[in-house]
Amino acid sequence: MKKTISIHIQGFPFLIEEDAFSTLQNYMNRLKSALNNQEGTQEIIVDIELRIAELFTQKLSQSKQVIDEGDLSDVLNTLGDPSDYAEEDSTSKAPEDDIKEPFYQQDLSDRRLFRDIENSYIGGVCAGLGSYFKIDVTIIRIIWALFFFIGGMGLLLYILLWIILPKPASAIDRLKMKGKPINVDTVKEEVERAANKVSEKGKQFADNLKNDETIRYGANKIGRLFKIIVGCFLIFIGLSSAASLIFVAIGAEVGSITTDGIGGTSIYELSQLFFNNSLETTRAWIGFYLCSISFVTFCLLAGFVLIFELKNKWYRYTNFALVFIGIAGMIMGSISFVGAAKDYTIEGEIEKEIASVNADSLMINTITHDQQLNSEYTIKNDPTFNFFIDGDKVYDYGIPIKYHLSKDSLFHVVIQKEAHANSQQKAVKRAEAIQYEYTVQENNINLSTYFYYAKKQRLRGQSVRVLIYVPRDKKVYVNNELQNIFERKESNLTYVADETNINIHINDKRLDVSGKIRSNGTYSHYD
């Protein structure tokens, strides 16, 4: 026997067991609160009550006149739980966090700048800025990355802001960060949202940890950032190399290396003199261009692939091909280079005595001609240069003179020519191909300021030296100036040359007695 409670639903009476009654009451209360005063709440409640009444009526019969727990349970199951159906309109509330609201609706007066940890990539600086200014975070990140690369101040500024800007410490802070009005409702919302996010994150973390995804995700993010940095760096290298390459390509043909030593010679011409023959020269240049162009292309391509995460495997194939070409280019260049270098190994030297003079003094004069004008006029403001290519000849300026003691009582003047090759024979032949001009008239020796050889002899360490053997205590004049052969005055002291080879010892340092004819025809002693 059980106690019943007598109720009526919308004017229809029912007898219901005590326990069932409390369950029913509970249901109705939950229904009311779930409906939360939506429009038409009353009407909805009436409808539901009517339906309950209808269902109750179906349960009852002659033999069963009281609603029990079981009946109620059936009825409530049919209807469903209020939480499932009653919060219709609350779901139309937009998720507040990431959606941009129109600027004019925001009340900016209570905004504060925070670091937005929840939406952060690294430290949340950009996310916080995005929240504050209501600009999409990604745009801020892009701008930041630009600052990072232009001038590099981006990194410092980021770290600075990371330290300065606080994390939001409470729901109220978070509301301030997003610029939302602060009142009971919004605070409650924010607390709930944050709590949900935390529990969501917790669950997510636990799940992902099982699948190792967060770690991969974090690593992916770092990897992505890293890739972007490396990518930009590569592009930078690629572009600057390309720029230099263009300069070289233009300069190689057209421009000239204008240092003091060499005037008016282009890189290309020099290279022609260096490599063994035109085939080698061409091969070297092709190798160089292949190597540098493939390098540039490789850098640019790899840079783009990394930054934009291009997946197409053709990019990878292309890069491999480029590396291959680059190496091939390097090999080509090296072959030519090595070939040329080998041609330097053996030295060949020849000498010829051009005069032996019996006199008290020897008169040396330098001949200057200007082979550019092919006349006796000289260019007034010629820069001092030592090397010159004209037509098919190479001109090398500057002749060293070395003095030795003569074994007899005569002056002897000897011209020495030297060149290099990969064999003794070739070296000697090359030396012979050097042209040096001089004239001899009794005790007057006229020496040219330069020597020359054909371009096709190539640059192989050619040099010309003049050796003058002087009998003891006889005099030598160069360009009508007496030169000190056997003694040297230095800071009020006079040093005397030694007996055997004409060396002058100053403070234990042994100096040869020598001089140099310069390109402009002047002579300097003790060079």
């Binding site: 909805i44 009517l50 219709e88």
Partner: protein, 107 residues
Amino acid sequence: MNVENTQAQMRKGILEYCILAILNKREAYPSEILEEMKTAKLIVVEGTLYPLLTRLKNAELLSYRWEESQSGPPRKYFSITEKGKVFLQQLNATWSELNTAVELIIK
């Protein structure tokens, strides 16, 4: 994020549309609307219907009349209004649009 929440969201979205479509065919009691949905295997809980019906009625897309019943309380008998029919047409268009789009996307 809960899959049941999303599933519920998806169902809720088309409920209004289905109700209007059913009522377009004939007038019905809430329980009859429910039956038809069950036959079509659309899983809805009864309670969901009432707030929806109220809303649609308040928006003048539906109307009802009371019908006395022998065994118990009176019941609301719903039918679609002209405004409701126009509304339904527009929802029809949206539905085929969505249907085609989703089919394409999930290929």
